[in-house]
C-alpha cells in the first residue's frame, strides 16, 4: 500500500517536472535575415499585446500568433505575459471594441509560424524550440 502511494507520488512529481520543462519549450523567434538579436520577454509581450508596433531599433514589428487550438499559444502567453487565455482575450476585447487595435494574424501551428517568420524580416513569432532551424533566430533575453 505504502509502496504504491510512493510510486504514485514519484509519478506525479515526474509529471510536474516534465510539465515545468515543457513550459520553457516555447521560444520567440525572428527571421535569420532580421537584424534583431536580443529582446527581453516584456518587449516580446508588448509586441504581441499590441502595446507597440515596432522593435527597439524603430523598425516595424509584425507579430505572428498561433490560433487558439495550438498548445504553444497558451504556454507562450503564460510565459511571456503572465496572462491566462481568458486574460489575453479580455485584453484584446478592450482594444478591438474601441477601434484601437486588432489582434495579430494567426497561423495554425508552430511549423506555419516558422515558415511565415522566416520569409519576413519584420515578423516575430513563437515556436516550440524543437522546431528551431537555420531559417530563424531565437531571441536572447537581453
Amino acid at each position: 500500500m505504502t509502496k504504491r502511494l510512493l510510486f504514485q507520488l514519484i509519478a506525479a512529481l515526474a509529471a510536474s517536472i516534465s510539465l515545468a520543462a515543457g513550459a520553457e519549450d516555447v521560444v520567440a523567434v525572428v527571421s535569420s535575415k532580421s537584424p534583431i538579436v536580443a529582446l527581453n520577454s516584456e518587449q516580446v509581450a508588448d509586441i504581441f499585446l499590441g502595446k507597440t508596433t515596432r522593435f527597439p531599433d524603430g523598425s516595424a514589428a509584425i507579430p505572428i500568433d498561433q490560433n487558439e487550438d495550438s498548445p504553444d499559444r497558451d504556454r507562450f502567453y503564460a510565459q511571456y505575459t503572465g496572462k491566462s487565455p481568458a486574460q489575453v482575450k479580455a485584453h484584446w476585447s478592450k482594444l478591438i471594441f474601441t477601434g484601437r487595435g486588432q489582434p495579430p494574424r494567426q497561423v495554425a501551428n508552430g511549423a506555419e509560424a516558422k515558415r511565415a517568420v522566416a520569409q519576413d524580416p519584420h515578423a516575430i513569432a513563437y515556436i516550440d524550440n524543437r522546431l528551431v532551424d537555420s531559417s530563424v533566430r531565437v531571441l536572447t533575453g537581453q
Binding site: 507597440t52 482575450k89 485584453h91 477601434g99
Partner: protein
C-alpha cells in the same frame, strides 16, 4: 447636422473599405454581449446604474434583465496601413425603454506616423479608466463598473475629433496622451424625477494621460464642456419673474450653457495572478445637478478559471442640498405663495443629490474561451437623507436605508 455628416463620412469610409476588400481580407466583424439579471430587495425604488436608464431592479420589477443586458456589433476596416475605420452599433435598454440600436462609435482613424493617431467621427469620450470598454462586460472583472463613479458621467461618446500620441519612455514604460474635442446629445428618461429631457453637451474638451509601466497603469483625466438641458428653462424663467433674487437663483441653478468640469485619476496593477485598482473623480456642473465626487478600490485574485473580487465604492454629494430660495418676507400673499411653491420645487430637486457607498463581492468564472459567467452581491448604503442613485422613488421609500442587490451576467465576445 454637422454630427450626422461626420457619422456619414465614417460610414462611407467603411463602405469604401468593403470595396477595397477584393485586394485582401481587410474587414473584420466582431461583437460582444451580456445577458444579465439583477435583483433588488427594495421594492420602493429602482436601482439605476446610470441616469439614462428608465428603470432598474426594485420597484418596476424585483428581477430586472434590462440593467446589464446588451449586444454590440462592430465592423472594423483597414483601408491602408495608416487609415482605418470602425463602426459599432449597440442595442441596450434606452431612455425610452426600447432596445433600438444606436451608433456607439463610427470613426475613421489616420496615423501619419506610427505613434500618432487622429480620429474623426463618433468616438469614445475618455473619462474613466475603463471608459473605453465599460459596455464590454467580458473585458472587465465585475458585473458592471462601480456605479458610484461610472454613473457620474453617463455620456460615453462624443462627435468630433481626437488625437492620441504615444511616447516610449523606456523599453517597458510608455505614456499616451489623448486630446478630444466634440459634442454630444443624450436623452434621459423620467426615472430621475425630472421628466424626459435632452442633455446637450457642447464644446467638449477632454485630455487623458495614461502612463503604463510593466504591470502598472496610472491615468489622469480632465474634461470640460458646456451643458444645456432645455427642459430646465421653464424653472429658470419662473424664477426670473421674481426680480433680482429670483434671477440670481435662475443663474446659479440653471442648466443653460453651464461650464461643467471633470477631473479624475486612477491606478491599476495587474501582474496576472491578481489585480488591484483604484479610481477617484470629481464632477462639478455649476448648476442644480450639483457637484459630486466618487472613488472606489477593487481587487481580485485569479485562481485558474475563477476570479473572486471585492470592491468598495463611495459617492459623495458635495454641493448644497437645500436653498432658502426667494425671500418671501414683504411679498404680497399671492406672490409669496407662488414663490414658496417655486422654492419647494428647487429644494426637492436639490435634495436628490446622491450620496451612497457600496460593498461588492463577486466572482468571475471563465467557463468558455470567449465567455464568462459572473455573480455579484452589492450592499448599497445610502447617505443620510439621500436617494443615492435610485429612481422611480415611491412613497414608501426610506432615504438613507440599505439595499441588497444580487446580479448575474453571462458575458461573451465573438
Amino acid at each position: 447636422m454637422h454630427r450626422k455628416t461626420i457619422v456619414a463620412a465614417a460610414l462611407l469610409a467603411a463602405c469604401g473599405a468593403a470595396h477595397a476588400d477584393d485586394e485582401g481580407p481587410k474587414i473584420k466583424l466582431s461583437g460582444y454581449g451580456t445577458i444579465g439579471e439583477a435583483h433588488s430587495d427594495n421594492r420602493d425604488a429602482d436601482y439605476l446604474v446610470d441616469s439614462f436608464k428608465p428603470n432598474g431592479p426594485g420597484f418596476t420589477r424585483a428581477w430586472n434583465a434590462d440593467t446589464d443586458s446588451r449586444l454590440g456589433l462592430q465592423a472594423s476596416a483597414e483601408l491602408s496601413p495608416r487609415l482605418s475605420a470602425v463602426l459599432q452599433v449597440i442595442s441596450q435598454q434606452r431612455y425610452d425603454g426600447s432596445y433600438r440600436p444606436a451608433i456607439e462609435w463610427a470613426n475613421v482613424k489616420y496615423s501619419p506616423i506610427p505613434d500618432l493617431s487622429l480620429r474623426a467621427g463618433r468616438i469614445v469620450l475618455p473619462v474613466f479608466m475603463v471608459t473605453d470598454s465599460r459596455r464590454v462586460g467580458y473585458a472587465n472583472p465585475w458585473v458592471r463598473p462601480p456605479v458610484e463613479l461610472y454613473s457620474m458621467v453617463p455620456v460615453t461618446s462624443s462627435d468630433g475629433v481626437d488625437a492620441s500620441y504615444r511616447m516610449t519612455l523606456s523599453p517597458t514604460t510608455s505614456d499616451t496622451l489623448e486630446v478630444t474635442g466634440g459634442r454630444s446629445d443624450a436623452h434621459f428618461p423620467p426615472s430621475q424625477g425630472l421628466g424626459t429631457g435632452t442633455a446637450e453637451v457642447r464644446n467638449i474638451f477632454a485630455v487623458a494621460n495614461t502612463l503604463e509601466s510593466g504591470f502598472a497603469t496610472a491615468r489622469l483625466n480632465y474634461g470640460q464642456a458646456r451643458l444645456t438641458i432645455p427642459e430646465y428653462r421653464v424653472f429658470e424663467d419662473a424664477f426670473r419673474q421674481f426680480g433680482p433674487a429670483g434671477a440670481a437663483i435662475a443663474e446659479r441653478y440653471g442648466v443653460d450653457n453651464k461650464l461643467v468640469k471633470f477631473v479624475g485619476a486612477g491606478v491599476s496593477y495587474d501582474p496576472g495572478p491578481w489585480f488591484a485598482m483604484a479610481e477617484w473623480a470629481q464632477f462639478d456642473t455649476h448648476s442644480i445637478i450639483g457637484k459630486k465626487s466618487a472613488w472606489y478600490v477593487s481587487a481580485g485574485h485569479r485562481w485558474n478559471k475563477f476570479t473572486p473580487y471585492a470592491t468598495y465604492a463611495k459617492l459623495n454629494g458635495l454641493s448644497n442640498t437645500t436653498d432658502p430660495g426667494i425671500p418671501l418676507a414683504g411679498l404680497p400673499p399671492p406672490i409669496a405663495a407662488a414663490a414658496g411653491q417655486l422654492n419647494a420645487v428647487l429644494n426637492s430637486q436639490l435634495s436628490v443629490l446622491p450620496s451612497q457607498s457600496t460593498v461588492s463581492v463577486g466572482v468571475r468564472w471563465d467557463l468558455l474561451r470567449s465567455a464568462a459567467l459572473k455573480l455579484q452581491y452589492d450592499r448599497v448604503a445610502l447617505g443620510s437623507g439621500s436617494h443615492g442613485v435610485f429612481g422611480n422613488i415611491q412613497p414608501g421609500f426610506q432615504p438613507g436605508s440599505t439595499v441588497h442587490l444580487i446580479s448575474a451576467t453571462f458575458d461573451f465576445v465573438f
